[in-house]
Symmetry: C2
Subunit: 309 residues, 2 copies
């Protein structure tokens, strides 16, 4: 069962060649979500052989151009390519006005229904749920209202061990309950403990996305213990002043949040265009927290399943 993050853009406000503005494709089994959609995202999706039509929900963190200017083009292309299935866009309330105005001036319509769900940058909010995941928004601290997103896989049922069904002659109607944790009681009244009958379900996996934000300890409670934390690191410590003025973080800030939140892995990105080499971001962050991964365009990060117990 796949849970992977494809980096479509790891740059910041000023795009540079080979570093698109922010966009990430999150694939959980066959469900595909997009977080942020900087200029050029539709092409980046194609270069990664991602089918635009498989996207179900698009989450926008905030209305700085490098996080959403690719949205109109993507929505338009999905329509031109014949999409009929609805698309949900989750983002700041003003985004709806921006979309509607641009649709109006182009006298265009979309072949599919566009569902807009406004975010609120006040607290943790459930903004999406489907068969595979819950998605929550939570407040970041930036120059404009900005939310992070946390994608949490739903708890799956345990896998019943097939040979046990035959051995204990378990009737079909009992199987669902056993998968949910029930013991099996034989016709003779003997109790077979659940843990003899099933392989435990994998632990629900989780991913949190924090961009853009100044160092903000309040984030910790929202992202506690996630398997993978993406946290922006626009600057290195040498430019701490610049980070504070622009409401961005340093690699050390990101690592401090990761450590406090006891996440499993930290992924950095949103590097300022001034940095051509990014290895220093890892070096700086690893003085605080490990392991640290570095986002690069077209790189894919997997979150592996682990069994419970």
């Amino acid at each position: 069962m796949k849970f992977e993050i494809t980096i479509l853009g790891c740059g910041s406000a000023l795009p540079v060649v080979h570093r698109n503005p922010t966009a990430q494709l999150i694939s959980v089994e066959n469900n595909n979500y997009l977080i942020d959609c900087g200029e050029g995202t539709q092409l980046a999706l194609r270069e990664n052989s991602a089918k635009l039509q498989n996207l179900s929900v698009i989450f926008i963190s905030h209305l700085h151009g490098d996080h959403y200017l690719g949205l109109m083009g993507l929505l338009s292309s999905m329509s031109l390519l014949g999409r009929q299935k609805e698309v949900t866009v989750v983002g700041p309330p003003e985004l709806e006005e921006v979309i509607r105005l641009q649709m109006k001036v182009s006298k265009s319509y979309l072949n599919y229904e566009l569902i807009f769900k406004p975010t609120s940058a006040d607290d943790l909010n459930l903004v999406h749920e489907d068969k595979k995941v819950f998605v929550y928004s939570f407040p970041l601290k930036h120059r404009v209202p900005c939310t992070g997103y946390k994608i949490v896989e739903k708890q799956r049922m345990a896998n019943i061990i097939k040979s046990k069904i035959d051995f204990f002659k378990i009737p079909v109607k009992e199987i669902k309950n056993i998968k949910k944790g029930a013991d099996f009681i034989t016709p003779a009244g003997k109790i077979i403990a659940n843990n003899r009958l099933v392989k435990p379900a994998p632990m629900p996996r989780s991913y949190a996305f924090c961009s853009d934000t100044i160092f903000e300890p309040k984030i910790v409670e929202y992202i506690k213990g996630v398997d993978l934390l993406y946290h922006e690191a626009t600057f290195l410590e040498e430019l701490r002043n610049r980070a504070e003025v622009t409401f961005h973080s340093t690699a050390k800030d990101a690592a401090t949040i990761a450590k406090e939140a006891q996440v499993k892995r930290l992924l950095l990105g949103h590097y300022s265009a001034r940095y051509t080499e990014i290895e220093a971001f890892r070096t700086e962050a690893e003085t605080i927290f490990s392991p640290v991964e570095l986002a690069e365009d077209n790189k894919v990060f997997h979150i592996e399943s682990t069994r419970q117990g």
Copy 2:
């Protein structure tokens, strides 16, 4: 003296890899103008080593996304890169509202003054003038209000032949008038004809840009005799019905306009994404008019000077 057109994007509504949506950089000596600005134009400019800060005026033909969605990102990047010199944007009146709204929601400001000049799709209008060129907008016929643009070089003065200055002992104060066409009268009263003193000035060069439009014979009067005509050719004749329904042209339509307008060369572009090979556009157009050039991303087309007379 340079007059060249760099194709930054030759595609149409659906961007494909190696074919960006419409944008062209027009360089007349050291003056740089942009016509249309589809998504990704700022990166295309950089890939062509064009300095964003050298752009003076941006002309937008109409408000379909593939012609303007790269504008906000470009304006933002010019500011982030420290530009202070004003930028003029010429385009449909509603574009101003789109820009202002996106500036508002991003709580951003530009370091430079943005001057907006609305176009009117009713007739030929002078929309820009500087030391080198006049730029006119003129109506095209599309699904939304849409204008073409014509860039006409200003008439330069003739070049006085240096050896004649010495030979006839021409005083400095006479030189400007001679460049403008005056004869020279020697202190002894002898008339030296102007054409013995100067090399004629080069003919003013001109470029017309027509995208997007259905076949529209009225265009002919606006673009009569230009040195290079860019005319959209979204389809081949085999899809004439599709061209008519979508208010686009075929290669043959474009060639018919070029022939009627007696232009010197025709440049085709805005190919539908369904065409991977474009040579057939030239073949079809050349049954009507020749020579025909094919726009391709990053290709540069030069307009050479010719002397008068």
